[in-house]
């Protein structure tokens, strides 16, 4: 049997199968950014897990997962989902909010139920459901923890992410949270949500400031780099580090009672699974689902760490 006959057979079977299935199955398109760094890696993992789980639980649900490398790429993906796959619902985590307004609006016009995840669209009337983590709360929760550990005259340094809305919300909420506590922020620098940058920025902070009591890295990848720099300088006993997101290595460390990173603040990539569940519920549940779902940003401590630990996730 040659490849040609095989392909023809495949084409024939799919051609027969598609119209038969299309009538009964509810098609849900899921469009997310490709796994370019740790957090999006976790996002992809949890999206795939949710796809497997939902498709095996409900025989009439068909989930089509597509990943994009850029906003333009994602716009194309959404157009394809609408025109080729004729989806009944779209779950989208936009690369950037503004460029994706029109493609999502068109999906809506074609009759799809729209769920937007994490980065909201500027025109909220397009989305039926909005599921997001809470960057403001992440900053505020972190600030609360710093206030329990430090007080008047203690010094901290801050490593920020990439200059974006997400970063600004976290930073502003944190600064507002520690206001009046007497905690002194020595400096803040961008470390681009990257381990190597976290390492280098922290090395420079360490050579610049002889007295640092705490480090707010607001991201676990950055925090991992910071840890190495602090170990290199032999100043582990002097300070503690707080990241954010919920990377499995960090959660594991907290479960084991790590002193250097004693807590974490959750910003879970698993929120994509929540969004997919809510979208499915729209078709299968008899309760209303439209609205906004803002997930909490709880403090992960030694006591509750086990419930946030996913050893199989890449993140």
């Amino acid at each position: 049997m040659s490849i040609k006959t095989l392909t023809m057979a495949l084409v024939a079977t799919t051609a027969l199968a598609v119209p038969a299935l299309a009538q009964e199955k509810i098609k849900i398109g899921v469009s997310i950014p490709a796994a370019t760094h740790g957090w999006t890696g976790g996002l992809n993992y949890h999206a795939q897990e949710a796809e497997k789980r939902l498709e095996s639980t409900y025989s009439n649900i068909d989930i089509i997962l597509v990943t994009a490398d850029s906003p333009a790429d994602q716009a194309g993906d959404i157009e394809d989902l609408v025109s080729v796959q004729q989806i009944d619902a779209l779950v989208v985590l936009p690369f950037e909010s503004d460029p994706l307004v029109e493609p999502v609006r068109q999906a809506k016009a074609a009759g799809a139920f729209i769920t937007v995840v994490d980065r909201g669209l500027p025109d909220a009337s397009i989305q039926d459901v909005y599921v997001a983590g809470n960057n403001t709360e992440l900053g505020a929760t972190s600030a609360e923890y710093f206030k329990t550990r430090l007080g008047e005259g203690d010094n901290i340094v801050i490593l920020r992410g990439i200059p974006t809305v997400i970063d600004t919300e976290r930073f502003d909420a944190f600064m507002a949270g520690i206001e009046g506590s007497g905690i002194n922020v020595l400096d803040n620098q961008f470390a681009n949500w990257n381990r190597d940058d976290g390492f280098e920025v922290m090395q420079d902070f360490l050579s610049r400031f002889p007295d640092i009591d705490g480090v707010w890295a607001q991201d676990d990848d950055i925090a991992m780099g910071v840890v190495e720099a602090v170990r290199q300088a032999g100043r582990e006993g002097e300070m503690f580090i707080v990241g954010g997101a919920g990377m499995k290595d960090v959660i594991k460390g907290i479960m084991d009672g790590d002193e250097l990173i004693p807590v974490d603040v959750l910003y879970p990539p698993a929120m994509i699974a929540t969004a997919m569940d809510v979208t499915v519920a729209n078709f299968l549940s008899n309760g209303p689902v439209a609205g906004s779902y803002i997930l909490g940003a709880p403090l992960v401590t030694k006591d509750n760490a086990a419930q946030f630990y996913f050893p199989d996730s890449p993140f």
Binding site: A35, E200, D204
Partner: protein, 341 residues
Amino acid sequence: MTVSVPETAAKPQKGFKLDFKTAGPLIALILLVILGYSLNPAFLNEGNITNLLTRSAFIGIIAVGATFVITAGGIDLSVGSMAAFIAGMMIIIMNSAVSSMGASVWTVLLGVGCSLILGIGAGYINGFLTTKAKIEAFIVTLGTMGIYRSLVTYFADGGTLSLNSGAREIYRPVYYDSFLRVPYPVWVFILVAVIGWILMNRTAFGRYCMAIGSNEQVARYSAIKVDRVRTWTYILQGLCVSLATIIYVPRLGSASSATGVLWELEAIAAVIIGGTMLKGGYGRIGGTVIGALILTAIGNILNLTDIISNYLNGAVQGVIIVAAVYLQRGSFKRAVRKKAE
């Protein structure tokens, strides 16, 4: 600019006149050091200098390789992705070695050996495709850049590959320990730079690279094996990437799709700041080393001060890079001479 280049290449050691083409990058570096010290005296602390030199080793070693590729008229955009890919493969190989035979010095040596083989192999592929398959170097290495980046993302499942902690403890000193108070990565950098300098300035291979870069046809008629020399420049580049990766992996013990992003541009920038021509024909290893130091020093100085808004870091880097190249190209020298007359 174009006219003044062959001039220096033709008579490089004539007289003791202050030659801005040679001294330009050095002057820029000295100015930068003075600036750094005046903004924050901590800049010249032994700890900070050690950090700075160790950090510049990655880009520096890769840039020494890039000097040969660019001098011979080529370009390699794949080095950053290649570094991430090799780092990822090293970690996978060492982890599987640990699970089958436990962590020992041999695990690390196995990883290092694999790194060298992968680097040389990856360099050969780039060289082969540009010379034998006759595809432009820009396209070949743009292609391999995407391939290596995707492969490391795939192997890491989009997350991070982390080295087994047992192997990590054995490997860690390679980055963090020193000999004669100079960290090992800096020794590797010095060694690579010295060998590179000898290869470029004291061997037939170096002269062939310059000849091919300035005029490929003439080089061919002069019985230089152009394809072979070109391929060797890419192999050297691969070897340099592999050496840089060997000292990079023990730093954080991890690799992900974010590893080595934009290293190719930093390496190329270091080469050009150092006085090598982007269109080939003339290469300076010493300049490349200084170029790498300048690039690292800029980032370091920006972290040591808060007088400039964080949002403008990229702009400051841009200005300094352009100014450094301006110092080193003819226009500045000519302006000074005109004023003197």
